[in-house]
């Protein structure tokens, strides 16, 4: 299930600002409170794909240790896509919440 939403998760992890791959993984782990523990190498193909799709842009930058690292940031299309995905996800979770809510109330109603 997580694999199907990887693009949205990566976009969300970059919503606070530009970050390199390792920082994106840390951010995903932090925001999901350790629930999303993906093989770390799978984030990079997703970053590359999103960049190719125009949702992210990237550039090489020198890190604190002087090592070159690729820093990713959301493009305007990426921000729009994230907003759309967030709205869609909200509707979905509301609907699922409603389904579970009805299921839990159903026996009480039938008992009346």
């Amino acid at each position: 299930m997580l694999k199907g939403h990887l693009d949205m998760i990566v976009l969300a992890a970059l919503s606070d600002g530009p970050a390199h791959g390792y920082a994106v993984i840390q951010e995903i782990r932090r925001r999901s409170r350790g629930e999303f523990n993906l093989p770390e190498g799978t984030i990079y193909p997703a970053l590359h794909r999103l960049e190719q799709g125009g949702l992210l842009s990237s550039r090489w930058a020198a890190g604190e240790t002087g090592r070159r690292r690729r820093v990713y940031s959301l493009t305007r299309s990426g921000s729009r896509a994230l907003t759309d995905q967030r709205a869609l996800w909200q509707r979905f979770t509301d609907a699922i919440g409603g389904m579970f809510g009805e299921t839990s109330h159903a026996p009480a109603r039938s008992g009346r």
């Binding site: 694999k3 990887l6 693009d7 390199h20 791959g21 390792y22 093989p39 770390e40 190498g41 799978t42 990079y44 193909p45 997703a46 590359h48 794909r49 190719q52 799709g53 890190g63 240790t65 090592r67 070159r68 690292r69 690729r70």
Partner: protein
């Protein structure tokens, strides 16, 4: 085993799996190196070798990582072919048109010894070129409208096949047209005494051949890379 050797071995194995895209291999290697250095430095445990092993294990299997890059890499390669093909079509048109303007300027008609070819040849060349242009533009629009998928599922494979077939058909038509052009030019030069004025159509034709050869080489390279990428899935039932 010292810790840098473990990382170097892993990075070599990772880069080796990217035989289908050398440029991408360099980028992935660089990013993985940075990632592993960061992960090892942030590992709380004291043993550097164990920290390295853990970081490598968390990063994942090289082949599995390479497989995930295949959909976007193949699309990028056909996008390049599509763009070069459109440039090749425009360049061929310019060279072809330039030659005809030159023939008219010098009032240099095709020999009357070949009346049939003189009429039918240019007509066929024109229609073949138009077909190459239409298929090429359709292909380019189709390729440009594709977005990289997360996996090589059946739908995406079908799309990639179309992305490759359209430029292939267009290039085939373009090569056919250049072949026909070669015959027409040879017939024209056959009855003409060589002079500096013959160098202009000859030079423009050579450029046309170079353009078409570039496309053929690019297509062949893309086919080879696709085959290499497909070999990554050979040990996997459903890519």
């Amino acid at each position: 085993m010292p810790q840098p050797a473990l990382v170097a071995d892993y990075l070599d194995a990772l880069a080796h799996e990217f035989c289908f895209d050398r440029k991408l291999a360099r980028r992935v290697r660089s990013e993985a190196e940075d990632h592993l250095s960061e992960a090892i430095a942030n590992d709380a445990a004291g043993d550097a070798t164990e920290a390295t092993r853990r970081a490598i294990a968390r990063f994942g299997q090289p082949r599995e990582i390479a497989r995930q890059y295949v959909p976007s890499s193949l699309l990028r390669q056909v996008q390049q072919v599509g763009a070069v093909l459109v440039i090749a079509i425009v360049a061929t048109f310019v060279f072809m048109k330039g030659r005809f303007i030159w023939y008219e300027f010098l009032q240099w008609p095709l020999s009357t010894n070949w009346p049939g070819i003189g009429v039918v040849g240019p007509l066929i060349a024109r229609y073949v070129f138009r077909a190459a242009l239409i298929v090429g533009i359709v292909g380019w629009i189709y390729i440009a409208s594709r977005r990289p998928a997360p996996s090589l599922d059946a739908t995406y494979r079908q799309q990639l096949k179309r992305c490759f077939l359209l430029p292939l058909v267009s290039s085939g038509l373009l090569i056919g047209m250049v072949g026909l052009d070669a015959i027409l030019l040879a017939l024209r030069l056959f009855d003409t005494r060589s002079s500096w004025s013959t160098l202009i159509p000859l030079a423009s034709f050579v450029f046309e051949v170079v353009v078409v050869a570039t496309i053929a080489v690019l297509l062949r390279r893309t086919m080879q890379r696709t085959a290499l990428a497909a070999s990554l899935f050979a040990d996997k039932q459903t890519p």
